[in-house]
Amino acid sequence: MRATVSALIRKDLRLELRAFESVPAMLMFSVSTFVLFHFGLDRSSLAGDLAAGVLWVTLLLAAVLGMNRLFLAEREQGGFDGFLMAPVDRTALFVAKAIVLFCFLVAVELVAVPAFVILLLEPDPGQALPELLAVLLLADAGIAVVGTLIGALGVQTRARDLIVPLIALPLLVPVVIAASEASAPLFAAGGADAFPARWLVVLALYDAVFGLLAYAVFDFLLEE
């Protein structure tokens, strides 16, 4: 299975590097939304709960763009058929796509989070960077797992652009809550408060539960 996952990841990353379709769109959306919040809220800087909420809602909506396109090449260019006819474990496709979406999210955040800090954040989050990285990575894992599952479901339908956000966003509410609760103290005005590690546990549990669930049902999603 490792060789199949590796082949699928390399293929997807190569396609993204050639076509530049998902990551630039997600990045542009994130930065544009931060700019909109900057002017729309009519505040030069944010802190605490509000800053965390703005960051996570923006990143989640940007992720939906990536989910929508995750399986598009498979559907439009016959990749599904080629994969389904190969003697490989079908869950390899789930694992590979989740890793690819995770990589896309990390790539977007490498630019979007500094942009958020510059455009909107009042306190300097530098001291709380390790904690913030932990929240980002755990939340990204949850978004990648659920996003891959819903992306596979959505691409089978004609209303893909509608189905993916309608199903994914409610399922990802726990991620937004946990990630916002975990990162709000890191963005507190006047310096980072005590880090609520229990929200990291909630994120890790969410990732594990949905990871196992998605792994179990993904094969059925590929059936016609």
């Binding site: 060789a3 082949a7 260019q77 016959g78 080629g82 006819m85 003697p87 490989v88």
Partner: protein
């Protein structure tokens, strides 16, 4: 008949009363035939007769809604996993990623099938694609894309070839170049969809004629007249 490792023999394809519907519309009904290993069946029928549906059922990409289907000794869909990797499909779509080069596409499929990565190079050379192997598929002509699609389909030396008008878009030189890979001499059993009655009959051991999703002809190719085939399109 082919033989399994345990000594059992099986036909390449065995269908018994196979049917398939898309919602209310019945695309295929009561199709029954047995294709011996290594034999070729030419499938004829007008547009919408159910040819592509039949091919996708045999490829394990569609479930039959009625009847029993077995491919290479594997009951579909229950044992479809046993047939995966033993079937090659040349369909309407090339099943190649447009933004990847020919070589990258073939290497990707070689990895999925556990095939030596030198095999794509040899195939490209054989079908006259070596000079374009590093070009993205989207830049190729239809004929060149079809050559690449044929390389993809035979990459893993399948025991059953499902060919939906495989020579479409190929110039005479291209048809000659791919003949050793998908022609009668290639070896595997073949299900060949063609609208060229003469060529189809010449290539086939058996003929399946479909009309409105129903089996109108199943007979040895030698006993089928051109007029019988042309009658399917009337």
């Amino acid at each position: 008949m082919a033989t399994t490792a345990t000594g059992d023999s099986f036909p390449a394809v065995a269908l018994e009363g196979v049917g398939r519907a898309y919602g209310e519309r019945v695309a295929l009904r009561e199709v029954s035939f047995t294709l011996p290993a290594g034999a070729t069946v030419a499938v004829f029928g007008a547009n919408g007769a159910g040819k592509t549906t039949l091919l996708r059922i045999l490829a394990g990409l569609l479930r039959p809604h009625a009847g029993r289907a077995a491919v290479l000794g594997a009951e579909l869909p229950r044992e479809a996993h046993r047939a995966r990797g033993r079937i090659g499909l040349v369909g309407h779509e090339p099943m190649l990623y447009r933004d990847l080069t020919v070589r990258e596409n073939l290497r990707f499929h070689a990895r999925l099938h556990g095939v030596d990565e030198r095999r794509p190079e040899a195939l490209c050379e054989q079908v006259g694609l070596a000079a374009r192997a590093d070009d993205p598929v989207r830049t190729l002509s239809r004929g060149m894309t079809q050559r690449a699609a044929i390389c993809r389909a035979v990459l893993h030396a399948p025991e059953l070839l499902l060919l939906d008008e495989p020579l479409a878009n190929l110039d005479p030189g291209g048809a000659v170049a791919v003949a050793p890979l998908i022609g009668r001499a290639a070896g595997p059993a073949r299900v060949l969809i063609s609208h060229d009655a003469e060529q189809g009959l010449a290539e086939a051991d058996w003929v399946l004629g479909l009309r409105g999703g129903r089996q109108a002809i199943w007979a040895p190719a030698a006993s089928v007249r051109l007029a019988d085939v042309r009658g399917l399109y009337a």
